[in-house]
Subunit: 664 residues, 3 copies
């Protein structure tokens, strides 16, 4: 453990609600079980500024000094998630408004509108002050903006938002004629006579126009990002410590590519259960390639997660907490921080699990926390001198895609589920993969997959064209490319300029779901017969190309389901339907070109992560049973588990949730 350096085991800490003597005890206890980072102050505005303009920061200085003295690093937060009562009482225009037109009121959290000019002012003032006061501490190793943007709601319907939304559209579309044209408002005579008449998409007699809704989602997402950026700039001006905010992708549905654009690293809060530890791997696989610095898990349950998640808790699954923690460190994270250190004795989250009980004694998480601290100390050098081996495969992740499926498209696709199912085909076969945003560079990958990506804009298409020209394989679909950047269909063909570029043509397209219909199958060359799901597209090759799969029955029997088009040194592959999972797996394995770990093999549910040194040489493996069932591990050579310091046999039986850090 090096002072104020990762890897961190951290926890959220609320000294503002405890007596001084308890705080001292708590810090002693933290140190005792190996906590070396605390997150602080994100809900403490009422204690920093108990009345307008009356600041009280002495208590916070004291706490940070005490932490610093005890060699515990600090993540300092801006407190804007919880405006004090005097602020919303005095300036009710800062309150966010619900779709029914009524404003949220004091008594919970996140009830402010991110577009409120007044709130932005208050937010600037408190942020500036905090930076001035606290940027000098050595212990303050990072800053967090606000808390969980978009968690309680991610849409606001207040007059400020309405005004800002109209400005936003005016800036984006220039003229109302242009907007009418690009959105196709002519359907149902929706044509607007001016930007000042565009509504927020509420109180519809039917559902609103998908282009209106899509732009509103984009606007709201940007509004949160804008709000964040105001604080970020002030902090970056006053300190060199890195800045982040804590995401929560499943709830927020904000565009993180935008939200984190100028932030230094990505951190997220995850409360998935021990029975689905694989979902942490998915999340870490997109967080790792996102930013240049290692990611943080800023919150996770030490025991259980209150009412947020059904309480199949970590205390009842022996070893699961340790496995969850090690998944973070193994896959490129440098921090696991718990929410929270000590259970609240009051308020909405009293029942939420924690590292210590409200009365101060450690919970059942203690043992695992101590163990991982010792293991981190033992493996520190190896961990910090290596990184995860760069994979050959990448899968696109897109928030605009999510919005398209969230709202407008009736294709029965639940984006998150569909993408994670696609992703699982890699994980279950131990094929290394990154999950990347559409702006990410792709040149170091061999294969890039773009499933469920309705909007492929010109910029992305240009990048992917270069990628293919230079030898890459681009897998497009299922259900990709069929929408413009304004969330309309293309007029001239299903996939617009993609069809022109690769000389393919979507001839038929129809939904497959629904009871009372016979299943449609395709014959997949070299893979076999598989059931088609969700949507079926028939593909014509207009130039050169190879048919990979043909529909066997139904109305498009004999037509192409999957085609491959050579292009430059590479190729584009079009998936015209969602294949059966087993066959998809087999095909992805073929595509991956043997990019799997050769040093070891293990039963399903056991993750093998290859760690390489700076010149790319594989030097170690982290083995984690995330499935919770244990299994077998076979390594090529006998290796040493540096968590225990002992040599291990080449053929091993692993206990449930076992973790090994093996060195050649």
């Amino acid at each position: 453990m090096i002072k104020f350096k990762p890897p961190y085991i951290g926890a959220a800490f609320y000294p503002e609600v405890w007596d001084k003597s308890e705080i001292e005890e708590d810090i002693k206890r933290m140190k005792g079980i190996g906590i070396n980072m605390v997150r602080i102050a994100e809900f403490a505005w009422a204690y920093m500024e108990p009345a307008e303009g009356k600041y009280e920061l002495g208590w916070l200085h004291e706490v940070i000094k005490l932490l610093e003295k005890n060699e515990i690093a600090v993540t300092m937060c801006t407190p804007t998630a919880t405006p004090p009562e005097w602020l919303t009482s005095g300036y009710p225009e800062v309150l966010a408004v619900k779709e029914d037109g009524t404003a949220y009121q004091h008594g919970t959290r996140r009830h402010y509108c991110p577009a409120s000019p007044r709130y932005r002012e208050f937010s600037k003032k408190i942020t500036s002050l905090l930076v001035k006061e606290f940027s000098g501490y050595e212990a303050v190793v990072a800053w967090q903006l606000d808390n969980e943007f978009g968690c309680e709601f991610n849409t606001c319907w207040c007059p400020a938002c309405l005004a800002a939304f109209r400005k936003y559209l005016q800036k984006k579309y220039k003229t109302i004629e242009n907007l009418n044209t690009l959105w196709g408002t002519g359907i149902w005579s929706q044509n607007y006579s001016g930007f000042k008449h565009i509504p927020l998409p509420s109180r519809g007699a039917a559902s609103h126009h998908p282009s209106l809704y899509f732009n509103y989602k984009e606007f709201m997402s940007n509004s949160f990002a804008e709000f964040a950026r105001i604080q970020e700039k002030l902090i970056h001006k006053g300190t060199s410590a890195p800045v982040t905010t804590n995401g929560m992708p499943c709830f927020h549905r904000l565009d993180y590519q935008e939200l984190f654009r100028t932030l230094d690293f990505i951190s997220c809060d995850f409360y998935m259960q021990p029975g689905e530890l694989w979902t942490y791997i998915y999340e870490f696989d997109w967080m790792r390639p996102f930013k240049r610095r290692p990611f943080w898990m800023m919150e996770t349950a030490a025991t259980w997660a209150g009412g947020l998640v059904p309480s199949s808790s970590y205390v009842l699954n022996k070893g699961a907490l340790r496995a969850k923690m090690w998944l973070t460190y193994a896959l490129g994270g440098e921090t696991v921080a718990f929410w929270h250190w000590r259970a609240h004795w009051s308020g909405q989250e009293m029942e939420h699990g924690s590292v210590t009980y409200s009365w101060g004694e450690p919970t059942l998480a203690e043992k695992s926390v101590r163990q991982v601290r010792e293991e981190l100390d033992r493996s520190f050098e190896l961990l910090s001198s290596t990184s995860v081996k760069k994979p050959k495969s990448a899968i696109h992740l897109s928030y605009p895609a999510m919005w398209v499926f969230d709202f407008g498209a009736r294709s029965q696709v639940k984006y998150d589920t569909a993408l994670q199912q696609f992703y699982k085909a890699f994980l279950e076969q131990s094929i290394p993969r990154d999950v990347i945003y559409t702006e990410a560079p792709v040149k170091d990958y061999s294969v890039v997959y773009s499933p469920f990506l309705p909007i492929i804009d010109e910029e992305l298409l240009k990048k992917m064209k270069d990628f293919v020209l230079n030898g890459g394989t681009w897998v497009i679909g299922p259900l990709s490319g069929f929408r413009t950047a304004d969330n309309t269909a293309h007029k001239d063909s299903d996939m617009g300029i993609i069809e022109d570029l690769f000389k393919i043509h979507v001839r038929h397209k129809f939904p497959l779901a629904g009871s009372g219909t016979a299943p449609v199958y395709m014959e997949w060359s070299g893979i076999g017969k598989t059931k088609c799901e969700n949507f079926a597209v028939s593909l014509e090759i207009k130039g050169h190309g190879k048919v990979l799969a043909v529909y066997k029955n139904g109305p498009v029997a004999g037509l192409n389901a999957i085609v491959e088009v050579p292009f430059g040194k590479g190729k584009a592959v079009f998936l015209g339907t969602v294949p059966g999972y087993k066959e998809l797996k087999a095909w992805i394995k073929k595509c991956s070109g043997g990019d799997i770990c050769r040093a070891a093999a293990a039963s399903e549910g056991i993750l093998i992560t290859e760690r390489v040194n700076k010149d790319g040489t594989s030097v170690a493996l982290v083995i984690i049973d995330h499935g919770g069932k244990g299994g077998k591990l076979e390594t090529k050579k006998a290796m040493t588990n540096i968590l225990t310091g002992k040599k291990v046999k080449k053929l091993l039986k692993l206990a449930p949730y076992e973790v090994l850090f093996l060195k050649y």
Copy 2:
């Protein structure tokens, strides 16, 4: 195919959102596959009147001329379902209001209030103009008012409605004392001190008074009808072309007897799935006897129906589209029109199926459309010179009955389901039947069934009395006659004057549903033992009469469940309970007096429709497998299938969804 004459295969067409060159292409394509009618302009107000008082109709003249030139008939629509943005921005008082008191806003459709005086003015102006401009075209064969009245909502809570509702009640009840007396407002001290204090039935601490709610539903239904009639009068003044509007009974819950009173023919939109084609037969069976002209199916899915209906689509059920189309023509319709010709490239209904894709190529519906066009051409003469043989049995359908069960009655009856289940007993036994409104003449039937008809008012009773006196059989119940026209109970007996007229008496009445109770059975003379469902009534014969069924067990064991009362030359039969379905079928078969087709017999799921010429002689049979499973057909004589021109054997095996048009 005769120019501008039915039978039509039609489609909704939206030239307002396409370029001129595409429109020309589209019309060429329509003609190519046999479309001979398009419906036009029902959502095009923003293009007709882009700013208040600024009219642009040139584009529409051009389109209609082009259609006329191509011998495609036109159904011209008034565009009032979609007020342009300038109208609702400038006159927000036209917006309908939700039960929570907030107004709908621009961005969807049907957001206007039908009672709004201002909106009625605008509606008159645009209708008058359209009639003036377009009534001269030979191609314009029909007019449609608005689009799907009541689809998005069928209740409005705006100040204009409140004022109109009070006026409506004043006109109907004259004095507030009379209203208080007839409604029985004394329950819960609901007595009103004046019409000006009667609320719309919203914001109740508990459910509102059933008489208030019933009158409100009637008022709203009439309000839509009144709105429609304003347009209808203007059109009838300017043209001799027939006027209709497109209903959607399952959604609208408006009184079509009233809505269509002065309209020339009935048209409806149906999106039921291939797995339930029998429901089309049900709908056609009430549409056929309703008006003097043949009915139209104004909208139906060519492929699938967007998000409106789970997408078990017509493209995956080979032959189902053709069967659906032929059901329409066989059962008395003259038009099948698709929604819509070409998929939208923008807006709320982008995913909805269509005849051609948004990019112009035909969808998988093409083949069936071409085939039916050819078949219509081949069978045209036979079809147009014959009509469906008039059945001996009729079943009452009533919107007020629906409202009673929708709201006030806690008898666990879902009206639509209950009525269709009753209806099915006829269909499954190939007993010809009409479904008729309560105002329809009955003298040509032998048996009239009035199930689930709580309100039997004096007018209906008088008509039915004459019917029975003249030899008819009237089947009353289950669950009929127990409410006054004001939706209260009768005070002196369960069935009021019906009991006096037929000298019967309901002695006991109680619900049967509920777990934990033993089933109640009745012994049905000549039918057998059957389980009683939903409600049980015990019936006493006060004059002459015959007991048809007696309860076997439970608290009314030994009392009468079904009685028959001779009256004049006919008889009234009272069903005191909902019998088991199997026994109900057997009994209905007995009642029908052998009124089934004698020329052929077929497996279940195959409809045989007898077509007669003007003097009533049976000359042909239309055979349609609507069940989708195929089966056997046996005809008395060898006949000719005029769809193919070939003789068919007397014993045939039919493929799923097969259609034959057999001539003796």
Copy 3:
């Protein structure tokens, strides 16, 4: 049957909606079948005061005189549940407001706000008048306040409530600092700057602070109680007749300890089904010990209960009505009153079952009513000279506990269900028990159980300490004592001063529910192994004590689950988890110390109630098959069934729903 004396068979009667001749007929019919009490006028305000200040009470005098003449007792009601239309039209500020901010409107019932000063004035005026006019009648044996307080809603969000709530908090907490401290508002910076800024807990971006919500529920409950007390005082001033109101515990969720504090007896409305007659026993078991006078069942279904309860009705379960009635009399009630005498011919409750149909003839309830009347006459002397034998065991029931679980606690406990399940362990073993409120005296019991009782305040703790010191056994838990009176956690330990008093310590505490986790078991000394449910607590003994159960597996394997602490002459037992039901039953049987009826034994589902005379000697048994399956009864001696006057054998087979009243 003694004039104007219990036992009563009663019914609600609405003469205001019937003609005079019908009223006379009805009273004759009542008398004929044995009704000797009617409840009257609770919804008749519009008839008493048809316009403001214009009173018409003649009709009511006439009805009461007629009833008195016919020796039918009267329960006179205040009509405040249904303000007339002129009142709410003229004074809309009396209307209660929904959480969304809109006011309820006329047309239903209970739409007034109990805190409205204006409504309280109107309520006083009408109550005073009624007392003045009607207290002189011999027939008026009781008064009922309003009707079903809290039935339609038990929270109001109007400005009057907001103001009153703030006053309420100010009175309770004195200073805002004190409130902030006791509630722990520091979580999420919720700290209030003044009482005038505290909101009603609506429109939260997330859920509101549990202390705010808890206080709001307490306030609202007290607000109804205050409203009731205003009327109660006026009535008590004018008459010596006892005063009550009709509760409905499952819906109201008001604190009946408070509501009934100054009322003379408890009455409730119950509509549970024949299949769950055991729930009546539960209700009667808390009503009996509550007040010094016998309780009344003020409403129950004679046949079925409209839409309120699925209609598995009493008419289809032969004998169930009689059994329900006898349960009331046997367990300490003196009145069974039906809702209602005659079915309404109009309004919201037309479908509700009744003693006679709307047209006046008796329903299928008639036979049972006549029979019970005869049986009461026969057993009158025995019944009135005896009372239910006082049990040794008591179980605590608490409305504040219900509120804690209703809202704030995420422990997956549904309070009503959990408590009734605990209670059932007594009933199913025929262990006599009282269900008591926390203010009830406990000194006459041997064992008091306090399960699911989060708040054990100082007053209760003091009483229970004395109880234990004097030899009582106090069973605490599961899930008790973990909240302060302000609905926060204790800071220093899980159970606060309880831990100090009994020298025990909760070391670990965690939820057990959730899929994907292995079950946790405990070994219960002398009982066996049992599965732990819902929550697990590990208990340390700091002083003397005995371990009763130890966890067998899971994270607290080896730690104590149940401990017993000797204290004074008695002991405290702490249940650290919810045990399996079978084992809980066995243990409760041990705890009860053999306090079961020794005079007879019967099959499950048959209730044996021992009746004692004034000196406590057992003189009779009431035997009721509430399970509806019949079974065997064995008595020690041959006894006489005074309902029939016949001797019965010592070994008997009982028919379903059989009732016997056996005398030694």
